[in-house]
């Protein structure tokens, strides 16, 4: 490697630097800066440079400080096994180190991969338009509310959301819609599903959008989706459905229950648990095509009349439309979308459906088992479950999770006496250990 004095990633030798400075007729790089003395900085951050090896050691020791726990956690962030091919191919530098396809002729590969991702989301949701990523499910939901506000013909100011919703989703939603003058209001749930009677009473002229999830944040499969769709139609509100790419492979197709927008966790595929890093789905009907936030890849032709892909309908976007853009999003989660598409392609319909059905079977089986342990009742909702379920514990939930952590397991506390447990193929073979620890923790 060339030895340089400063950044190891700036290739200039001393001789080259000198020649370049001479060509510019200056003595040092400092002469090229036009920063007034009064605001100049002396460069002393107090950050010592370290070697690659030192940093790898430092961070590896640091991450080892995380307790080694078997996680049975979900609530919006899930771990499924990611096939090796996803890492190896998405890590190819041509993908990883490229940027937005401003020059489509030279970036057909990534554009095609994103077009394929969009197509998979179209198939899974049944809606004809899917963008090529949102940051995560929460920001996708928030963007859906803003779209609903833009397209609704009559004025209204309320977004209806379920009583059970992850705090992060609700808070992000509130932050995004505040500028548009919208209010967020909760409707009640009935044994883990939408309380449609009350929702029907709440929905009306002022309702801009109704949001429901399937599966819900508590893991229940929603049985009243068509009714929610009808309530939204009657109120002339948009129906936004939250789901994830695995669940969508077997659960009712959003298009067939009247969903106008689908958002949710696309990061269930392509990414293992990543401390909350996400990928947001955004799909909608063709009626709202020109109101979609984010990047869209479309097919066109090149001069040789061969099919070619390009970012399209960019007049929706901030770099053209500025304050009248559909969103401020620019940098997005394209590479995560590439990974999700690779994972779906690797699973195929058989693999994806098997994975999804196992999410139902494993959650059902584990809940039944826990229900037999004294001190616990599971699942507390009399519904079908997907991946996760809520457990009532006689002992305070905090005390139970603390004991479990001692025993090497992590689960959620969601209320004074409510726990939530999530099971996938990544931890299904450790359920016996979890049951044992729950027994211990019930005392």
């Amino acid at each position: 490697m060339t030895q340089t004095d400063g950044s190891p990633f700036a290739p200039h030798t001393a001789e080259e630097t000198a020649a370049m400075l001479a060509a510019l007729d200056v003595e040092s790089e400092a002469d090229l800066f036009d920063i007034p003395e009064t605001v100049a900085f002396d460069g002393n951050f107090g950050i010592d440079p370290r070697s690659e090896q030192e940093i790898r050691g430092e961070l590896s020791r640091c991450f080892a400080e995380n307790n080694r726990l078997t996680e049975f956690m979900g609530r919006g962030h899930y771990s499924h096994y990611v096939p090796s091919i996803v890492d190896h191919l998405s890590d190819r530098a041509e993908f990883l180190t490229s940027y937005t396809q401003y020059q489509p002729e030279i970036t057909q590969g990534f554009l095609q991969a994103l077009f394929e991702y969009q197509s998979m989301v179209v198939e899974l949701t049944g809606l004809p338009v899917a963008n090529c990523s949102m940051y995560d499910a929460a920001t996708g939901l928030a963007e859906a509310a803003l779209l609903a506000d833009r397209v609704r013909e009559t004025t209204g100011d309320t977004i209806l959301i379920p009583e059970y919703l992850r705090d992060g989703k609700q808070s992000v939603l509130e932050n995004y819609v505040d500028g548009a003058g919208l209010e967020v209001e909760s409707y009640p749930m009935d044994d883990g599903n939408v309380d449609c009677t009350t929702l029907d009473e709440l929905a009306g002229d002022e309702t801009v959008m109704i949001y429901a999830e399937n599966p819900t944040v508590r893991g229940t499969i929603e049985e009243g989706l068509s009714e929610v769709g009808e309530i939204a139609t009657d109120a002339e509100a948009l129906f936004c459905l939250g789901s994830d790419l695995v669940a969508l492979s077997i659960l009712e197709k959003p298009a067939s229950v009247g969903a106008d927008v689908v958002v949710g966790e696309a990061d269930v595929l392509g990414m293992p648990a990543s401390y909350g890093m996400g990928l947001g789905i955004f799909a909608t009907s063709d009626r709202y095509l020109r109101q979609v936030p984010g990047r869209l890849v479309g097919a066109s032709e090149d001069r040789n009349e061969r099919r070619a892909y390009t970012l399209t309908l960019q007049t929706r976007e901030q770099h053209i439309r500025k304050e009248r853009a559909t969103s401020n999003i620019c940098t997005n989660q394209a590479w995560v979308a590439l990974r999700a598409a690779m994972h779906i392609a690797m699973l195929g319909a058989n693999g994806l459906v098997e994975l999804a059905e196992d999410c139902v079977r494993e959650a059902t089986a584990l809940a039944e088992q826990i229900d037999t342990v004294s001190g616990y009742q599971a699942p507390i909702h009399d519904r079908y479950h997907f991946r996760e379920f809520v457990v009532r514990s006689e002992r305070p939930a905090q005390a139970v999770t603390a004991s479990l952590e001692q025993a090497g397991f992590a689960i959620h506390t969601i209320d004074d006496h409510l726990l939530q447990i999530c099971v996938t193929e990544t931890n299904a073979d450790e359920t016996d250990g979890l049951i044992g620890a729950l027994k211990e923790a019930s005392q």
Partner: protein, 478 residues
């Protein structure tokens, strides 16, 4: 240099076929084996059906039909396309770091320690008092920053309605201010290309919530009057927001906090070399001065007296801007990059970035109307079409600069080579610029010819949107 990009051409109609064109299958859902009753399931699912070796080839071919920073120069102005050090990938792939975000603080001390360390690094680099790492991209950082400004004014019972933005600013600034519910006041530049102080003085009022500024600005000029700009905004009771897109020019030589900025975002995928991933993920941490720390998103991370880390919610937090804590894997890579460079490397990065931009511009036959510029410059293609010149550059094995923006430069070619290019590469890049700029009209209009696709019909793509393989057989969605 002449470049021929890989091109897998199936037939007269297309290049590499789509996954679904290679093979797909339809599966019926439900039936006796299904764990769910029929009324809760969909009827069928159709997806591509390919073996692992076929997929490996598909994606390898797609990758070969894609330009990247590891392929060659990528001098997109305002995007800071740096080399992404490989070791940062290994660091971020540590399985011990891949935990669930709802874990207790006690059981996730390692991750909290890295978050805390990165917060500290970014605070000192920007001259800020506190940093949140939650925003998942630069535009999300802007939105977070403007929400903080709004919360600050609201808290003081001070309802303000306007955000001032220079006409030459990034489009995200305008869109962000509008999303937060503000009216945008566009500020013209002066003849030299900088903020027009008189115009700013006329624009500020009791309605001014903030001025959003990037410095150096989008043609690479340092706002020399920054102290007076800050005073003008502060005297009106407004806040000064720093768009971190151009921070690579300042590393170690100037800090937004010292210039009077109250809020800033950092684009770690630009300044701190995390890979751009074909459009993302990035990360857009936000730094603030002491008076604004109570408004930062929740939760924040702090170090306790006994050296452990904990999370806490600031008293007047704006809430959350991401469902969880942002783009964690990106943040790890940024930490590793900053640690690798240290003080000396960071200052050298900006020194070489500015040296490279100047050395490249020196050799161009195009005019550069505004200077002295720093890490980027806006050359003008004059009476040539900047977009055509850019297309021709593709044939020479370089990625062209950002074109036709900012609008203050006619037929702009906004160029940012970054510190990673060597003298020799810059010379080749300059040769590509010059060759394309002086090529015949015919050649320009038919360029590129050596890339996978030849010139793509953008108008047709927008007029007849076909956004999925399901739509390819149709004429139009609309």
């Amino acid at each position: 240099m002449i470049y021929d990009q890989a091109r897998y051409t199936e037939d007269d109609e297309k290049h590499e076929p789509l996954l679904a064109e290679k093979n797909e299958m339809t599966l019926e859902i439900g039936g006796s084996e299904s764990p769910l009753p029929e009324e809760l399931t969909r009827e069928e699912l159709t997806l591509p059906s390919l073996s692992e070796p076929e997929l490996a080839r598909h994606y390898t071919r797609l990758s070969q039909m894609n330009w990247s920073i590891d392929s060659g120069p990528y001098p997109l102005g305002s995007c800071t396309m740096k080399y992404n050090p490989k070791f940062t990938e290994d660091v971020a792939a540590d399985p011990n770091a891949a935990i669930h975000p709802d874990r207790s603080a006690k059981s996730s001390q390692g991750n909290l320690g890295v978050l805390y360390g990165l917060q500290e690094y970014l605070a000192t680099i920007g001259g800020m008092d506190a940093v949140t790492l939650q925003p998942p991209a630069g535009a999300a950082g802007e939105f977070t920053g403007i929400l903080i400004a709004k919360a600050y004014h609201d808290h003081r019972g001070n309802d303000r309605s306007e955000v001032i933005i220079p006409a030459s600013a990034h489009g995200t600034n305008f869109a962000t201010a509008a999303m937060a519910g503000y009216d945008v006041v566009e500020l013209p530049s002066d003849d030299g290309g900088r903020v027009d102080l008189e115009a700013l003085k006329a624009a500020v009022s009791e309605e001014t919530a903030a001025l959003m500024l990037t410095n150096p600005n989008t043609v690479g000029l340092f706002e020399r009057d920054i102290v007076e700009i800050a005073e003008t905004v502060h005297d009106a009771g407004g806040l000064l927001y720093y768009d971190g897109a151009n921070l690579n020019a300042l590393l170690g030589r100037g800090r937004p906090g010292d210039m009077g900025f109250d809020i800033m975002h950092y684009n770690v995928h630009k300044t701190f070399a995390t890979p751009h991933g074909g459009g993302g993920p990035g990360a857009g941490p936000v730094g603030v001065v002491k008076e604004l720390t109570e408004f930062l998103p929740r939760p924040r991370v702090r170090k306790t007296a006994n050296g452990t880390y904990e999370q806490f919610d600031p008293d007047h937090s704006i809430g959350k801007v991401h469902g969880f804590g942002g783009n964690w894997l990106v943040l790890i890579k940024a930490y590793a990059y900053i640690a690798r460079l240290g003080d000396v490397g960071l200052a050298d990065a900006s020194a070489k970035a500015v040296l490279n931009a100047n050395y490249l511009a020196e050799q161009l036959e195009m005019d550069v109307p505004y200077g002295p510029f720093h890490h980027e410059f806006a050359a003008t293609a004059g009476d040539r079409d900047a977009a055509d010149v850019a297309k021709r550059m593709l044939d020479f094995g370089v990625h062209p600069p950002t074109t036709k923006w900012p609008e203050m430069v006619p037929e702009a070619m906004l160029t940012e080579p970054t510190e990673i290019e060597s003298k020799r590469t810059l010379e080749r890049l300059a040769a590509a610029f010059n060759a394309a700029y002086t090529d015949s009209d015919d050649t320009l209009e038919t360029a590129p010819s050596r890339t996978t696709a030849s010139r793509i019909d953008q108008v047709a793509a927008a007029r007849n949107p076909r956004l999925s393989w399901q739509a390819l057989g149709e004429n139009s969605l609309e």
